[in-house]
């Protein structure tokens, strides 16, 4: 569906706006009470919903999310390594409900910009005064044709959206023979969570070291070098997992032979016992009509997160065309959620949004069950470039891998989950 079709369709559906209420959500019949619909209950969307209520309890907030509970991508590599359970990275949406957020368990299928409503797969459309879209990423299966088939996606999992895919990949690692090869294929940047694949290599190797010591991790990276925390990861591979992790840059996947577990690269093929392929990524499906950058990502006004393509539509998190040196990380999505929530509250009141937002990114990666490394940065609004830019001299990476940062990483998870989900 192109943008023009989308907008045409929008006009036809405005009649639905008169249907009162839906799924237990009180109908809006005018008056001063304003409703914000939030699509997607991940780090960005859940945070936006929580902070909308924190900043102005009178705003009605409807969160639309198909999953029963939030499952964290950060820390999910600990599940792959066997060091944590799925339950330990899962948080229910009950906290947000306690804070007064209406949580609608449904899938948003389209945004009717002119009619100001979110269309749902099952329920009635949800009307909004403003809408915040935080769908995360979607996969560009066309770049790996054999994986367009859904069954193939479970044989060769991505496990790049935490949940059943994480469980599937963990089971494959458990079933793998000692002496087997676990291959991780990384797409060209930008993709969600730049250091995530290298962390995954560490934690798979940690598992192998304890239980299958003759096994190997093979990293096939489309990029020319490790895209984040490179020296720290390389040190961890050499010192903690000597001889177990092989890193090959400039190794771009072009397809998969699913039956034989063979990754087809631009130059040559690579067979593995367990094959984990991260396809190239783009903005989540619901924001497709608002993609403006490189046919993949959405551009926004960094003061309000309002889409460059549509008024009243705000977009957060991994779907965004990143600002300079801003990673697609959970902490960034959390920061987007807060900045956007504050701006939306201001706009609903007819006030001027904060002209000087700050974002702080702290991104931890586990290099073993207990040790972590970080990258941090502070971003402020640049008046001439109209974007967020890192503050020169601030930020940096860990001096070395260490257990203190491992503890801080786990604390970060507890506190950010509570911050986003109540």
């Amino acid at each position: 569906m192109n943008r023009r079709d989308f907008l045409k369709g929008a006009g036809a559906s405005t009649a639905l706006a008169s249907i009162p209420g839906c799924g237990g959500i009180p109908a809006i019949v005018g008056g001063p009470r304003r409703r914000v619909a939030v699509v997607g209950g991940g780090y960005g969307g859940a945070t936006a919903a929580r902070y909308l209520k924190l900043l102005d309890a009178s705003v009605e907030v409807v969160l639309i999310e198909p999953n029963e509970a939030f499952v964290s991508c950060p820390l999910s590599n600990l599940v792959l390594g066997g060091f944590r359970s799925m339950a330990e990275i899962t948080t229910p949406y009950g906290g947000l409900i306690e804070h007064g957020v209406h949580v609608v368990r449904d899938t948003a299928t389209a945004i009717d910009v002119d009619g100001k409503q979110v269309r749902l797969a099952n329920g009635n459309p949800v009307h909004f005064d403003r809408v915040i879209l935080s769908p995360g990423i979607d996969f560009m299966w066309e770049a790996l044709p054999a994986l367009s088939d859904e069954q193939a996606q479970w044989r060769v999992p991505h496990a790049w959206k935490a949940g059943p895919q994480t469980v599937t990949l963990r089971r494959q690692l458990e079933a793998m023979r000692d002496g087997g090869v676990f291959a991780i294929s990384i797409p060209e940047a930008p993709y969600r969570c730049p250091p995530g694949p290298y962390e995954r290599a560490c934690l798979a190797a940690a598992y192998f070291k304890a239980f299958k010591p003759r096994s190997k991790v093979l990293i096939l990276d489309a990029n020319e070098d490790v895209t984040s925390k490179g020296p720290l990861f390389k040190k961890a591979w050499a010192e903690l997992y000597a001889g177990m992790i092989e890193y090959r840059p400039n190794s771009k996947a072009i397809d998969v032979d699913v039956r034989n577990n063979v990754l087809k690269l631009e130059f040559g093929d690579e067979k593995a016992d367990v094959l984990n392929v991260l396809p190239p990524m783009k903005a989540g499906r619901i924001v497709e009509p608002f993609i403006t950058a490189n046919k993949r990502w959405c551009e926004v006004d960094w003061l309000t997160y309002e889409s460059r393509a549509a008024k009243g539509v705000h977009i957060l998190g991994d779907s965004l065309q990143i600002a300079p040196l801003m990673p697609k990380s959970a902490t960034m999505a959390n920061g987007h959620g807060k900045t956007c929530a504050a701006a939306v509250v201001s706009l609903l009141r007819g006030e001027v949004p904060n002209p000087s937002p700050t974002l702080v990114n702290t991104c931890y990666s586990m290099v073993s069950e207990r040790m972590a490394v970080h990258v941090a940065s502070v971003h402020k609004y640049d008046l001439s470039a109209h974007t967020m830019r890192p503050v020169p001299g601030a930020g940096g990476v860990s001096a070395s891998m260490n257990e203190a940062e491992g503890t801080y990483a786990l604390n970060w998870a507890r506190n950010i989950w509570a911050d986003a989900l109540g």
């Binding site: 040196l325 020169p392 507890r414």
Partner: protein
């Protein structure tokens, strides 16, 4: 091509300093918003590690900031920024804030209630 530029940008980030691609003009940052909502928004950045409104989860190894005596958070931030207090990450983050911003966030956190029910 765009993807390659982005990769280079991340590589720069991985090297530690907030390096900019060559030829990029120096940033012209908006003046800090030290109004009530601006300070609250700035302080909200601390929540991902230190808890919402500076109230960290019970038993957290990361300090709670809410309800600390006026001046305590600011003193720690200045020491972090100047490299006079040991840190894993705070020396890097503190360099992103000037004295006025640090003082305003300190005042804001000092006014927040501490976590009352430690069992929660």
């Amino acid at each position: 091509m765009l993807a390659r530029v982005s990769a280079a940008v991340w590589l720069a980030a991985a090297c530690g300093a907030a390096a900019q691609p060559a030829g990029t003009p120096p940033p012209a940052f908006a003046p800090p918003n030290l109004g009530a909502s601006g300070v609250r928004a700035m302080a909200a950045n601390c929540a991902s590690c230190h808890g919402t409104d500076g109230r960290a989860a019970p038993g957290s190894a990361v300090a709670s900031l809410a309800g600390r005596p006026r001046g305590e958070v600011a003193q720690a931030m200045v020491l972090f920024r100047e490299g006079r207090k040991p840190a894993t990450v705070m020396h890097q983050i503190a360099k992103g804030f000037n004295d006025d911003e640090i003082d305003a966030m300190d005042a804001w956190f000092s006014r927040q209630k501490r976590r009352e029910d430690p069992a929660r």
